[in-house]
Structure formats: structure tokens, C-alpha cells
């Protein structure tokens, strides 16, 4: 790709970016070229470390300190931005090219009111006086759907919710009417329903204002929602670049194809393992020879190991693969992802169908309530309550996977911790293996821990940085007096099971990647052969291509150990794929509960329906009506009266504000808390 057609807004040619200097410099962007016309939307997809953020940061020269452009040109309206003096750059930024960053909380100056920040581009570029700029800012906030913009301008960023803040950031980016907006993971930090709102908004602004957008995400589904063109990055280069529809319908690069296949979707039968990509994305400093994807590629041949394929046109796309030229990849090789399952638990001999009825309840929560008090140090004032859990009843049986889904602040983490008795409940009862353990404490409680284990979200925080892996995995065994030899044997066994191998026992956590650490977390949880495992967002901190591996590992674990699993996640795709039953939570309450396929295919609660529709669909095969919820989730410390969902519900009636709906059984094993449940169908 060379030269610039007239009419191209942005032409990036052979861009190289390196981090560090001298001999230790690491190339993180290795020759990226693309052009973008006015009003176009380009989606840029890649995992962490793929160089996507570096690529776009180089355009307005906003690279983090330590990184610098080592080659190429960035022509914006015919002017090479890499060569212009700093002062010219200040003129371009904000007025010609503006940016929206991932984390809206850190994108805004915390001690400055929102209004002055939104209008700042106008003031800096002397496009308007302060007063006129304030008015424009108000209009911009209004256009972006912020209620009462006049008052909103006077507030501080921390007083806004995540969605509102991101709107304010987008308003700032748009206020000087730049022809190009670069949005770097603008929805990643947001809840699913809010993410849907923001994506909708970006698409609308592109259509209405003709703003060109470069949208970056790790999630192919998010990008495909609004981009006409998508580029997939891997190890600092584009590996596939073409029209979104072609790329999704007929992915030509094995990596793109694998990414699409590894996503849990309703089309993948629950009994099947996901087609996970083996291994982990390479580190920028240690790329494999030849094609950087070859160690993870099922089609890799000799040439892939020795030479890196050029980016060449195939059909309407550009693809960097030795085998893409022929039109399509070789026939998919046989299932390369071999199951790591080995029979470990002596008492389980046959694999049990996950759906088969398993009568014995392992854990049941009955009307469990847990409030948090905001610490209040002054006497004589009423302390504020946060309703983390409010009258929640759930049961999980042996062999079942109970998925708990909901947005941040819905109480799902509190539920998990209460279930494991890591937190005390205010009222209600917890039964575990037939025993009331609500108030069990001390040594009795400690003895129970043999049968219940947690798996945590953050694989970096959940392992003691000073303990070798073997010690961490062996900790539960030590706690219950397993003898040294037996313990070593068992640690080896479970490390093998999770696919790490015994040699990792001597490693320290920081020597492992995120995916490997999460495997350690799982190994530790199963070491004692527990009856119940509670996994709290165990995959959300992992790279996309690694997530499928861990999901598969959970499937293996379930088949192997036949235990009761509570799987907590904000991602309904994953929950649906993994669970036999689903409970949807909203603001401390279960609003819908039932067998997962039934709940997902025929949601009864309007919130469930909205949550389902907010899941970005990759292929968009059946163009669905997107239910975009208005507003933000209400505050858990002051929930609305009556039905807590009513402020965001399009079916809300007078009764919803007065009477809280009871969770009632509508069919066998299926319950919903709504006055006007949907009649079925999505």
C-alpha cells in the first residue's frame, strides 16, 4: 500500500514503533499500513500486546514515554504528522484528530468540573470564547444523551457513572468537530448494557456527523458492530484486513478463524469443547521465527517457521498467510486440542451428562440477605446501607453448573463469598451438604473448607507472590494434614490435570502468564477434591485467545469431578455456554432463574432480554432488534422503590413502582420476579 489517493483522510504507511532504546529496543509495531477515507469506520482488533494501541497512539504522536516511531509515515490530509513541529501537532490534536480512551475515569481530570473539561478543546484552539464554548459543550452533552446537561457541567467526574463519563469523554472528542476520532477500547470498562449504548452512539455519530472513526477493541464482536472494515492485528502487524462482512463470513487467516471459532456462542453445543487456540500470544520481545502465529497454528508448515508471509490481497481482503492465497486454507486438520482429562477422582467412573438430574443439593441459600454498612464515624446519624444481597434463594446440586450473571454491583461477588462463608450473612440460611452452616464458625467452619473451594478473578492477585506454585496448590492439602509424599503426588497430579505439568511446581507466580496462573488457581481449588467450587469471574482478566482454553478446562473439570460449580460472570455468552442453570441478578436480587438454555432462548424478565441482546453478535446472522436500556444501573445504596429494574424498564407500569415483584415459579424449575413477564421468545 503506497501513495495517497486524493480524498483519503488518513494514510498510514509502513509504520514502525519501538519501545526502549539502543540494543534493547523492542519493536511493537512492525510495519502497519492502511488508509481511511472521510466518514469511514475502521475496526482494529487484537489481543493485549498486539500493538493496536501503539499503532493508533502514533497517529497524533501521543505514544507513552519510552516508545517512539522508528519508521513510516502518517499522512493526515496530505501532511505527514510525524515530521511536523510540536506546535503544529497541538493544532491538529483535538481539532482535527481527537481521541477517546478506554478508562473514562482516568481520562478526566479528577479535580476539575466536567464542563470546563468538555469545552477545553474549543478554548485551547481559540474556536470560541469561554461563554460560547460552555453553551456548545452543553449542546454536545445533550446530543450525547446526558440528562440535564447544565447541571452535569457543574459536576465532577467521580459523581458520574461509567457510562456518563464515557459520554462526556466522547463529547470532548467531538466538540471541535474533528474529521477523525480514534476510540481506544471505549467500551471495555463498561457493563454490557452500557457498552451497547455507547456502541450505538458511536455508530449514530458516524452516520449523522460523518466523523471517521478508528475503533479499537480486543473483542471482534464489538468492532464488527459498527465498522465496515476490520483489521486484525497479531504481534505488531496486520494479519488480515478487509471488509467486515467478508472477514466474518469467510475468515482467511487461521488466527481470525480461530478467534471466531473459539467464542462461545449458542451454536456451539454445550457438550462440545470450544475450539480453543493453544498457547498464548507471543511477547513483543520474543517473537517466534517466521510467521509469529505458527506455534499456535494448526496449519503450520515448514515455510511458516522460516519466513514471515507478506500481507497480500486475497479476494477483497489483505491476508498475511502462506496458505491464504489459494483461496482458502487447507482442510481443517483433525481436532488438535486434545483433551487433558485423565481420571483422577476414584469415586467417579463414568462421565455423567451435565443435564442429567442429580438429586442431592450440595448448597442451598434460603432468603439470604447481606447489607454493607458504609462506615460512619459520627454518632447519632443513620449509616448508609448498600444492598449487596437481598432475599436471595438458590440451590446448586451435584453435577450442576449454576451460572450467575449480572452487571457490576449486582451482588454476584458477594453471593459467591457468602456461599463459601467468607462473608457472614445478615439473615437467611445457608445449607451445605444437608447441614445448616449459616452460623458455623471456628474449627467447624475450617473443617468444612475441605469441601468448598474458591477460584478468583484476578490470576495476578490470587497467588501469593512469594510462594512457589507447588506450595500454593498444596496449601489446602497442608491445611488438612495431608502427608508430605502424598501431597507432592497430589500436587503433581492436579498440575498435570490443568495442563501445566509438575515442573511448574517450583516456579514463582510472576514467571507465569495470566492463563497459566488461572490454571494454577483451578489446580489449587480441586486439590482436595471438593464438593463445591465457586468461581468468580475466572476468565474475564484473560486474553481473548486464552479464555476458550480456560472455559474448556472448566468443562473438563466438571466432567471429571462431577462437583457442584457456581460460575459467576458478567459475560452471558460464557455463562450460557458453561452452565446448566442460570440465575440473572440485578441490584442484589435474583430476577430470573432456570435451566440455562430455556432462560437464554426464552427470557421472561425484561432485564434478561436486554442483557441477552446487548451481547455483541459476531455474524449478526439474524439481525435482531437491539434492546438498548436507557440510563445507568441505579445506585445499590438507594435502590428504586418497588421493582428495582423499573427505572430502566420499558414495560414499567404504576404497580412496578409500588409493589416489589416476588420471585415466583412460572414453570418447573423456572422462576421470574416481574409483574409483566415477557411472553417468551426473545
Amino acid at each position: 500500500m503506497n501513495g495517497g489517493r486524493t480524498g483519503d483522510l488518513l494514510v498510514v504507511n509502513d509504520l514502525h514503533v519501538a519501545v526502549g532504546g539502543g540494543a534493547g529496543a523492542i519493536e511493537v509495531v512492525r510495519g502497519v499500513s492502511f488508509r481511511l477515507g472521510s466518514g469511514e469506520v475502521l475496526g482494529l482488533v487484537g489481543e493485549s500486546g498486539s500493538g493496536k494501541t501503539m499503532t493508533v497512539s502514533a497517529i497524533p504522536r501521543l505514544l507513552p514515554s519510552g516508545a517512539k516511531v522508528t519508521g513510516g509515515t502518517v499522512c493526515f490530509k496530505g501532511e505527514d504528522l510525524l515530521g511536523v513541529p510540536r506546535q503544529r501537532l497541538s493544532e491538529v490534536r483535538g481539532k482535527e484528530i481527537s481521541m477517546v480512551f478506554q478508562d473514562s475515569l482516568t481520562s478526566l481530570d479528577p479535580i476539575m468540573r466536567v464542563g470546563p473539561q468538555v469545552r477545553e478543546p474549543l478554548v485551547l484552539h481559540r474556536l470560541a470564547g469561554r461563554r460560547a464554548a460552555t453553551l456548545t459543550a452543553q449542546q454536545e452533552l445533550h446530543r450525547l444523551g446526558i440528562p440535564d446537561p447544565g447541571r452535569a457541567m457543574m459536576r465532577y467526574p467521580h459523581e458520574f457513572s461509567g457510562g456518563m463519563r464515557q459520554r462526556a469523554v466522547i463529547a470532548t472528542a467531538l466538540i471541535a468537530a474533528p474529521p477523525l476520532v480514534i476510540a481506544d477500547e471505549p467500551t471495555t470498562a463498561l457493563d454490557a448494557t452500557v457498552q451497547a449504548q455507547i456502541l450505538d452512539l458511536l455508530g449514530r455519530l458516524n452516520r449523522e456527523l460523518g466523523v471517521a472513526v478508528i475503533l479499537i477493541s480486543h473483542d471482534l464482536a464489538v468492532v464488527s458492530e459498527i465498522s465496515k472494515t476490520v483489521a486484525v492485528m497479531y504481534a505488531g502487524r496486520f494479519v488480515e484486513f478487509g471488509p467486515t462482512r467478508d472477514l466474518l463470513a469467510q475468515p482467511r487467516h487461521p488466527y481470525t478463524r480461530a478467534l471466531l471459532q473459539s467464542m462461545p456462542s449458542p451454536d456451539v453445543p454445550k457438550t462440545r469443547r470450544l475450539a480453543a487456540i493453544p498457547g498464548e500470544p507471543p511477547l513483543a520481545g520474543a517473537l517466534p521465527s517466521g510467521c509469529p502465529f505458527h506455534p499456535r497454528c494448526p496449519y503450520a508448515a515448514e515455510i511458516c517457521r522460516s519466513a514471515e508471509p507478506p500481507l497480500e490481497p486475497v479476494g477483497h481482503s489483505l491476508v498475511s498467510c502462506w496458505f491464504a492465497k489459494d483461496g482458502s486454507l487447507p482442510a481443517a486438520p483433525k481436532e488438535t486440542v486434545t483433551s487433558t482429562v485423565r481420571v483422577l477422582a476414584p469415586d467417579v467412573s463414568e462421565t455423567v451428562e451435565p443435564e442429567s438430574p442429580a438429586p442431592d443439593a450440595i448448597l442451598s441459600l434460603e432468603h439470604v440477605t447481606r447489607h454493607f454498612l458504609m462506615p460512619n464515624r459520627l454518632p447519632f446519624t443513620a449509616p448508609a446501607h448498600v444492598h449487596a444481597l437481598d432475599d436471595v434463594s438458590l440451590t446448586v446440586r451435584r453435577g450442576q453448573v449454576l451460572g450467575i450473571a449480572g452487571e457490576s454491583g449486582c451482588g454476584k461477588t458477594t453471593l459467591g463469598r457468602c456461599a463459601l462463608r467468607l462473608l457472614d450473612v445478615d439473615s437467611g440460611r445457608i445449607r451445605f451438604m444437608g447441614r445448616d452452616i449459616t452460623r458455623t464458625g471456628g474449627e467447624d467452619l475450617r473443617q468444612l473448607r475441605r469441601y468448598m473451594q474458591p477460584i478468583f478473578q484476578d490470576p495476578y492477585a490470587s497467588l501469593n507472590p512469594r510462594s512457589p506454585i507447588g506450595d500454593s496448590v498444596g496449601e489446602p492439602l497442608i491445611a488438612f494434614g495431608v502427608a508430605h509424599d502424598e501431597r507432592k503426588r497430589r500436587v503433581r497430579e492436579v498440575l498435570d490435570f490443568v495442563g501445566l505439568g509438575a515442573r511448574y511446581a517450583a516456579h514463582l507466580p510472576h514467571e507465569l502468564s495470566g492463563g497459566q496462573r488461572q490454571r494454577v488457581g483451578i489446580a489449587r481449588a480441586i486439590a482436595l477434591n471438593p464438593e463445591l467450587i465457586v468461581a468468580d469471574e475466572p476468565i474475564s482478566a484473560l486474553d481473548v485467545s486464552v479464555q476458550a482454553q480456560i472455559i474448556n478446562l472448566f468443562k473438563d473439570m466438571q466432567r471429571e469431578f462431577h462437583l457442584a460449580l457456581i460460575f459467576i460472570s458478567h459475560d452471558l455468552r460464557v455463562v450460557r455456554h458453561l452452565s446448566t442453570h442460570i440465575a440473572i441478578m440485578f441490584l442484589g436480587q435474583v430476577v430470573e432463574h432456570g435451566p440455562s438454555e430455556v432462560v437464554c432462548s426464552r427470557p421472561l424478565h425484561p432485564y434478561t432480554a436486554a442483557l441477552l441482546s446487548s451481547v455483541p453478535a459476531v455474524l449478526g446472522a439474524a439481525p435482531r432488534e437491539r434492546i438498548v436500556l436507557s440510563g445507568d444501573p441505579p445506585s445499590p445504596s438507594a435502590p428504586p422503590s418497588g421493582c428495582r429494574f423499573r427505572t430502566r424498564c420499558r414495560f414499567a407500569q404504576a404497580v412496578c413502582a409500588q409493589t416489589p415483584p416476588e420471585l415466583h415459579e412460572v414453570e418447573a424449575g423456572r422462576a421470574v420476579a416481574c409483574h409483566f413477564p415477557l411472553s417468551g421468545g426473545g
Binding site: 490534536r93 481521541m99 480512551f101 481530570d109 485551547l124 467521580h158 458504609m374 448508609a384
Partner: protein, 343 residues
Amino acid sequence: MIGYVARRLFLLVPILLGMTVIAFAVSRAIPTDPVVAALGQQAADHPAIVAAYRHHWGLDQPLPMQYLTYVKNLLHGDLSDSIYTHRPVTQDLRSYMPATIELATATILLSTILSVPLGIVAAVTRGTTPDLIVRLVTLVGVAMPIFWLALAALDVFYLHLGIAPAPGRLNPTDAPPPNVTGMYTVDSLIAGNMKTFWDAVSHLALPALIMATWSTGTLTRMTRTSMLSVLPQGFLRMVRSKGATELHTVLGHAAPNALIPVVTVVGLAYGDLLTGVILIETIFGWPGIGHYAYEAAIYADFPAIMGVTLVFGVIYTIVNLCVDLVYAALDPRIRAAMISGRR
């Protein structure tokens, strides 16, 4: 905000009570006879004085009652009499207070003016020569035995070079300005006497400068650290992406964010200051509480020592309360948390 201030004042009560407990405990922990310590050997030889003293302080009663008596006398402003000056300690403290406040305020102003720009420059030029120089100088500053530096400065600037005036607050030929605040610089300005004002300032300059070594070092280092933690933050990238110049980014957005936490260090620096006051006032013949404390220590004037300790403790506590309030007023996040009672 008013509610928050009230709440903080309310919480001051147990802390002040606690301070009296500690002061009481220290004064009762003396290995020697407390009566002798409090009255001095001479007076202790007179049985009548001893008996009166024992009764006044309730020494013939059990310990808890003694404490109550102590607090009761304290509330009446009674800190006993100084052995050395033979005047009530409260009266001594009141007369020495203005000189100390004048010196301390000058010091804090001086070190704030010096340290904020230094800290910002050091942070922005991190790793290069200006940063290295600032760090070296401030590190020497916090490691400095200021009593030694004060002696050296007096030796060089007064005895040898004759640039600095003799110790004291004014030239012996000048009469002090009419007493309003007790601070000569302020009082001379009120009286419109510029000659006395400049004289007072010239006497104030050297001791304040020396005393500022500690607090300037601490404040500069804190400003630098705080700036360094703000500089990589995302919102500055956002500001740059709006088209702001580097100068506007640093001074308009980074510095205001960085300086808020530095305010809290001013409170801590005040503790060093109160210590410094004792040394510097002694060496520069500055008639303030610090000088009083030194003499009390030299002459084992126990009531005076306890009085100074308590007063310094109260000043320190109140300064830190003010610092907290200022901090809350400056940072909208803290302000919100405090008003809603979460802190």
C-alpha cells in the same frame, strides 16, 4: 462541609483528652519524687509549700482522682508554676507564643515558595541534571542537623562577614512596636513603622531560612513524588489529545492534582518545625516557646516542660486538623466522601 467540620471538632475531644492522659502519665512516671520535680529542691524543703502543692494537685488521693484534678486545673489554665521563672507556666507560654508563631509562619511560607517550583521542575526533568541537583540538595536538607547548620551560619554570617544582624528579634536600639499581635513584623506594619519592620524582617530571615532546611527538603521531595505519580496518568494524555501544550498540561492539570496531597505533608512538616523551633530559637536567642523549652530542659523545669509539650501537641493536632480540612476542600473526591460520612 459544615457538618464535616463539626464532626472533626467533635472528634478532637477524645484526642485532646488522650494527650492529657499521656502528659499526666509522663509526669507521674518520673523516677524522682514528683513534688521535688515540680517544685524544685529549694521549695521542696519547706513542708508548708509541699503540703499546699500536694493538696492543690490532689497528690494525697488515688491516681484516677489525681488525673481528674490535673484536668480540672488544666481547664482553668493552670499548668503549675515554672521553677525557673517562678511565674505560672500558662502566663509564660502566652508571652512567648507570638515570637514563635512569627518564626514558624515565616518558615512555612519560605519553604512552600521554594519547594513547589523545585519539586515540579525535578519531576518534569526526571533523571536529568536539574532533577539530580534538586534531589541531592533536598536529601542533604532532610539529613541536616539544623542546630549545627545554625551555629555555622551564625559564625559565618554574623561573626565573620557581619551580614546578618546579631541574635534577637530587633536591634537593641529599636523599641518594639506597640503590641497588637506580638509579632513584630505585623505590629510594625500596623504602626506604619517601616524601619522597625525591615529590622524585624532582617532578624527573622536567617533563623527562618535555617529552619526551612528540613521542611523545604520534605516538601520538595513530596512535591516531586506526587508529580511523578500524576504525570503518567491517563487524563494528561487526554489533555494533550485535546491540543494542549506541554506547559498547559503540566501547570494547568498535573500540578493542581499533584499539590493537593502535598498539603497533608505541610501538617507533618509542622511537627519538624516545632522541633526546629526549640533548636533555632535557642541558638538565635529568639524569645519564643522553643527557647523557653530549652531553658526548661536545661534547668529541669519540669512543669514548664510539660506545659510546652502539651501546647506543642495541641498546636500540632490543630494544624493537622486544618490541613485535613484544606485537603478536603481542595479535592472534590475527598470532599464528597467526607460529606457523605464515609471518612
